[in-house]
Amino acid sequence: MDSVTDPINPELKKRSTFKRKLNNFFAEVYRIHLFIIRFFKEAFVPPFELKEIVKQCFDVGVRSFTLITVTGFIVGLIFTKQSRPSLVTFGATSWLPSLVSIAIMRALAPLVTALIASGKVGSSIGAELGSMRVTEQIDAMEVSGTKPFKFLVCTRVLATTITIPILATYTAFIGLLGGYVNVATNEGTSYTSFMQQVFQPLVYLDFTASLIKSIVFGFTIGIVGCYQGYNSNKGTEGVGKAANGAVVTAMFLVFIEEIIIVQIASNFR
């Protein structure tokens, strides 16, 4: 009798289920790697879908713009407000702009942007491609002699990879504006003076690391959303799972990548 369905030996059954789950996990990792390799194979080979890439960049930007504006501003404002009491204790409120700028530029801007984009853009890509898969629209593209992977996946991944760094830069600016509102309200600091103090502690590595981080986050959000959607099945349930999987996996990976990149960047300081 097949050990997986053996009702007599529950221990054996449990072990087999674990083994199967482990196998499935590694099979999934293998499939994701193949998906990524396929992206690199197809994305940089002509013909390039430039029109579609621009359209997707616009979509990604528009979808997240309002939320990023509001969230970025609130994050900057709240972070400054919460940091103030500690600095007041040491009589060091003049350090606030520097503190805010380091926090926002090095960590908050790319991270907040990536998390918002995972929710807004990642889920949308997962649901859109998932729905196209279950309604056979992707098959229809394939049988009409076109390359759906290039048209649907490569364009979206490139769009998120290009747009997320731009959005992260915008988030940084808006976050600093939030910080400025708090500082100006309490200390009456001018905008010019605030900005001078903001850029004082920042070094080239901060901008580079932040940019690399945003590019990696953007790629992750795009590839995860596309993978989940492109490989979804089981009807409407599959579409829901694809959207959900895109958000959860992308957010998880963003945090892991954050740790790794911060660790690497700190070695160069």
């Binding site: 729905s131 196209m132 309604t135 056979e136 629209q137 098959d139 229809a140 593209m141 394939e142 049988v143 009409s144 002699g145 076109t146 390359k147």
Partner: protein
């Protein structure tokens, strides 16, 4: 409308399938299929739901890969072909999906242009417009050109789906349940359209259905898929002149005679 007489070249096989097998996990769907589609012929594949009718045409178009057997389409072996050659072969095959599979985010015009722009490099705007107008006229839906798929009825969606395949002038048409979910009048219109496509575009077609009215109206030959194999094939009357309990209910349910 009565099906007009068409010329079928029985010496020229456009599709030749031998010993085709396909399983999904432990379930064997196709258990050794042999099939020939001749130039200019409409072949109807009948069978119960879940017997692998749609799987068969997905195997022919290379959307699925068989476990065993050979599929020769227009002289090329689909199971052993490069990606580029398969892409070129697919341009010569039209596939009409059960749910039409129109691109939701595009208008009817964009849906029709999509395969044309991607497969005919350097085609002029004028030629694209002409091709779109011609196929829309062929399916009788010129007025829908700027509509979104969500604004179309089920029958209109089917017609636009067929128009999208016709725009590349295919030599073979594969119809997956062309009349499923449609009212009787629209079914008759779709049947007439399938026959018109056969005559006007000189296509050879495989029509997957369990609708006997569609089978009788469009098929030059009927093949019945039973237990993963073609067990009955011939003209409509030849196939249904039987007391086989697996075949008779089909006929009785459709009240065709």
């Amino acid at each position: 409308m009565e099906k007009a007489k068409v010329e079928i070249d029985y010496t020229n096989e456009v599709i030749r399938i031998r010993g085709l097998k396909k399983s999904f996990e432990d379930f064997a769907v196709l258990r050794g299929i042999d099939l020939d589609l001749y130039q200019g012929e409409n072949l109807v594949v009948l069978g119960r739901s879940g017997t692998g009718k749609s799987v068969l045409i997905k195997l022919i178009s290379g959307l699925l890969t068989p476990d065993h057997g050979t599929i020769e389409v227009l002289g090329q072996e689909v199971t052993n072909i490069t990606d580029k050659a398969l892409q070129e072969l697919r341009i010569r095959i039209g596939f009409s999906f059960q749910n039409s599979a129109l691109y939701d985010s595009m208008t009817v015009r964009k849906n029709l242009e999509f395969p044309l722009v991607r497969n005919r490099k350097g085609i002029s705007r004028k030629d694209i417009d002409l091709a779109v107008e011609t196929v829309l006229d062929a399916v009788g839906l010129s007025q829908t050109i700027n509509q979104m798929p969500s604004e179309l009825s089920g029958g209109q969606r089917k017609r636009i789906g067929i128009a999208r395949t016709l725009i590349l002038n295919p030599e073979i048409m594969l119809y997956d349940e062309p009349t499923a979910g449609l009212d009787p009048i629209t079914c008759i219109e779709i049947n007439d359209l399938i026959n018109e496509v056969q005559q006007r575009y000189k296509t050879s077609s495989i029509i997957i259905t369990h609708d006997l009215t569609c089978a009788k109206a469009t098929g030059d030959r009927i093949a019945m898929l039973l237990d993963g194999k073609f067990e009955r094939a011939g003209t409509f009357d030849e196939v249904f002149d039987t007391d086989d309990p697996r075949v008779k209910p089909f006929f009785d349910y459709n009240f065709i005679r």
